[in-house]
């Protein structure tokens, strides 16, 4: 009871001393501005750069014998009114194709054309076409070419079936956007892309907050030791209480900031479309992903546990270093754990239910980031969630225990850096 009162005193000090700093105010204000930019600027630029204007400066090698090349070229340059000098069409016999390709390749190397497109009997059969060029990795470009070829093949087929060419063309021409929607237990869900954006945002937010405030704990512990104030405090409270109060206080600051950011982000979602509209971009108003209170609570629990785990590790580092430089080096292993976790973001998103994802949600260092990512992007079996939580809670306990011991040992060791052997002995010693 008494110790609880002291814990509260420490937590309060840690919280209010941090919330009052300029640093906190600046980060809290600039966070939402940054998010806002993140949400509008890419959309704006994506709008500006649909595909490369040079897309049509290619050569089409037509070995189909049905004039597919000319039709594709005409579409590429933007219809009959387009600049016909851009896309060259070379009608070749199938057996002369290799030679024609070699010639085209030279032109690409000489930068006279961007690339060349090979159309043959397999293309007409709806199976394949080939493209080689400097822009082969530009997804938007390739998708456009693919779509045009498909469309023209389809209209040729329709004409073969007896449709007039105008009708066939209008039937074949379509510009379909795939709007994917995620289905979850609750039967509802936002759009698929949006869920991924949301999931990534959650993971990034957790990563950034744990990182920033974990380091905050490190610095706090280090300063307390450097300024010698720790000795006065531990003459009143147990070192573990001091550590716990610090972790709680700093964690509460992180939580406060996260909540402010979250509210700001939600508001930003609402004003995103109007803002983009100002720049002449017609963006659809985004429907927010559906998040149940239970899900929210779960994400919160993962943050609290993840933060506690990492804060304990950072505290160990802070207790064993004397200068900022030493801290930079010594914190590297802890930082690496965090960075490794976030670097698995893409693989996990690709297969949220895969084995890799499963393993990463078990490991205590990646679970606080990967599990929320999965929770936000897919349906995770509740058994798995419970197991991940259990593993994380156990790891937190161990981390805090070790941190408490090291903290107590290192707190009064002034001026020198403890050796690994000493740290090991502290962990083993009760008092």
């Amino acid at each position: 009871m008494d110790e609880l009162r002291k814990l509260w005193a420490i937590t309060r000090r840690e919280y209010f001393e941090r919330v009052r700093t300029k640093w906190f105010v600046i980060a809290t204000v600039f966070g939402p501005i940054f998010f806002g930019a993140l949400m509008t600027v890419p959309a704006y630029f994506a709008h500006r750069t649909r595909e490369s204007p040079e897309l049509s400066r290619i050569r089409v090698l037509d070995a189909t014998g049905v004039g597919l090349g000319r039709r594709v070229a005409s579409e590429l340059i933007g219809g009959p009114m387009g600049d016909t000098s851009l896309t060259q069409v070379e009608v070749v016999a199938p057996d002369r194709l290799p030679a024609a390709e070699r010639a085209a390749r030279r032109l690409v190397t000489n930068e006279q054309i961007r690339g060349y497109l090979v159309l043959d009997a397999r293309t007409v059969a709806g199976q394949s076409a080939r493209y080689a060029g400097v822009n082969a990795t530009a997804l938007n470009d390739m998708r456009r070419i693919e779509r045009i070829v498909e469309q023209e093949v389809l209209s040729i087929r329709l004409e073969d079936k007896g449709l007039r060419s105008v009708e066939a063309r209008s039937l074949a021409r379509m510009d379909l956007d795939l709007d994917s929607e995620r289905v979850s237990d609750t039967g509802r869900g936002g759009s698929g892309t949006l869920n991924i954006v949301f999931a990534v945002s959650v993971a990034m937010l957790l990563y950034v907050t744990i990182f920033l405030y974990g380091q905050n704990v490190l610095r706090g512990v280090m300063e307390e030791r450097q300024s010698r104030v720790a000795e006065v405090v531990v003459s009143s409270v147990r070192p573990t209480t001091l550590l716990a109060g610090k972790v709680l206080g700093v964690g509460a600051v992180g939580l406060t900031q996260m909540l402010i950011w979250l509210v700001a982000a939600l508001a930003m979602f609402r004003v995103r479309a109007p803002i983009l509209h100002q720049f002449g971009v017609d963006a659809l108003a985004i429907n927010l992903p559906h998040i149940t209170p239970g899900m929210m609570a779960l994400l919160l629990v993962f943050f609290v546990l993840g933060f506690t785990f990492y804060a304990a590790l950072f505290a160990v580092v802070g207790a064993t270093v004397n200068t900022e430089q030493e801290a930079q080096q010594a914190q590297l292993p802890v930082v690496m754990l965090l960075v490794v976790s976030i670097s698995f973001l893409q693989p996990v998103l690709n297969a949220p239910d895969g084995r890799l994802s499963g393993v990463l949600s078990w490991l205590p260092f990646s679970a606080p980031i990967i599990m929320p990512l999965r929770l936000a992007s897919t349906q995770v079996a509740s058994g798995q969630v419970v197991m991940a939580l259990a593993a994380l809670v156990a790891s937190c306990y161990i981390a805090v225990f070790i941190a408490g011991r090291v903290y107590r040992g290192a707190l009064l060791l002034y001026g020198k850096r403890p050796t690994l052997g000493e740290i090991w002995r502290w962990v083993g010693r009760a008092r």
Partner: protein, 322 residues
């Protein structure tokens, strides 16, 4: 009979490479000003930290005001000024003091009142300037020491423990500290302080304990300690000395002087067996010296300290384990 303020029984503390405290027992009576004397590295800070339950002894027991030092509320009754001083530098003075009071369970209003009283008393709050509103950073070193001192006293503790309180203090602040200690004693508080400056201890302490190499050398009330020491001593002060006078020769005469502590103008002399102090005085005067003081005295604590602890008692001190 009331419980002693601090009672240490057969305490030992060992570290990996050295023994900090071998077997220490001491009793600090309630209401006493008690000095813990010893050279650097003797184990003073280790002893104090064990009293405050910051570190635990390997062996033995420590009781504060009749309660084991490990009991939850015991340390709330102690005020502590560590040797290595420090405060939260970015915090305002009042906020730091409020926090320290908070840790000891002092209600906010009471703490505020006491903090203001102390700030005024130690002239940190004057009509011109209220340093309580300043950040710790902005204070001079001396002022920070005062703030830390207030921090040790803000919960009005029954036992006050000061580790090397005089180190780094200028004469004015040292005097203020001394006055406060005496005032605390008048109000029935117990003050335990460590120092290696024996003169301070001699003037202020009711009782002392001298430790060296982790062991008690002697302890007891200052009067007893001094009278318990053997030998006849003379305190001699001269108006001035010069290398050419004959005083030096007189004082190095082994028939008269057994040992001497030469502070240039002041000498503490242990007479040789059978020597007559009158003869010594006569010889000194005959040598042409102008005597300001010649007194047969009990040996000073300083003298006893040097005799008993000796040069070999001073180990190379490790900061933090003094």
């Amino acid at each position: 009979m009331t419980e002693p303020a601090v009672e240490i029984r057969h305490v030992a503390k060992r570290y990996e490479k050295h023994v900090a405290i071998r077997d220490l027992s001491l009793v600090v009576p309630v209401g006493a000003v008690y000095g813990l004397l010893g050279p650097n590295g003797a184990g003073k800070t280790t002893t104090i930290r064990m009293i405050l339950n910051i570190i635990a002894p390997d062996e033995g027991t420590i009781a504060v005001l009749g309660q084991p030092s490990t009991a939850p509320r015991t340390t709330d009754r102690i005020g502590y000024l560590p040797e290595e001083r420090g405060l939260y530098r970015k915090m305002k003075v009042r906020a730091v003091l409020r926090f320290l009071a908070d840790l000891k369970g002092v209600p906010g209003k009471v703490a505020d009142r006491r903090i203001d009283e102390w700030l005024e008393r130690l002239s940190l709050k004057t009509p011109e300037r209220d340093w309580g509103a300043a950040k710790v950073d902005e204070l001079s070193r001396g002022m920070q020491q005062k703030v830390q001192f207030i921090g040790a006293l803000v919960h009005d503790p029954e036992v006050v423990i000061l580790d090397e309180p005089f180190s780094g203090l200028d004469p004015v602040n040292a005097q203020a500290l001394k006055d406060t200690v005496i005032e605390l004693k008048r109000r029935g508080r117990t003050v335990l302080f460590s120092t290696h400056m024996v003169d301070n201890a001699e003037r202020m302490c009711d009782a002392v304990c001298i430790i060296a190499r982790g062991e008690k050398v002697l302890d007891g009330p200052v009067g007893e300690v001094r009278s318990g020491s053997n030998g006849r001593h003379v305190a001699l002060s001269l108006a001035s000395t010069s290398p050419g006078d004959g005083v030096g020769a007189v004082l190095s005469d082994a028939r008269l002087v057994k040992s001497i502590d030469d502070s240039n103008r002041f000498f503490e002399i242990e007479l040789a067996d059978g020597a007559d102090p009158q003869e010594l005085l006569g010889r000194v005067l005959a040598a042409g010296a102008r005597v300001e003081r010649f007194e047969i005295v009990r040996p000073s604590l300083h003298r006893i300290f040097l005799d008993r602890v000796g040069a070999q008692g001073v180990e190379t001190g490790v900061t933090g384990h003094g």
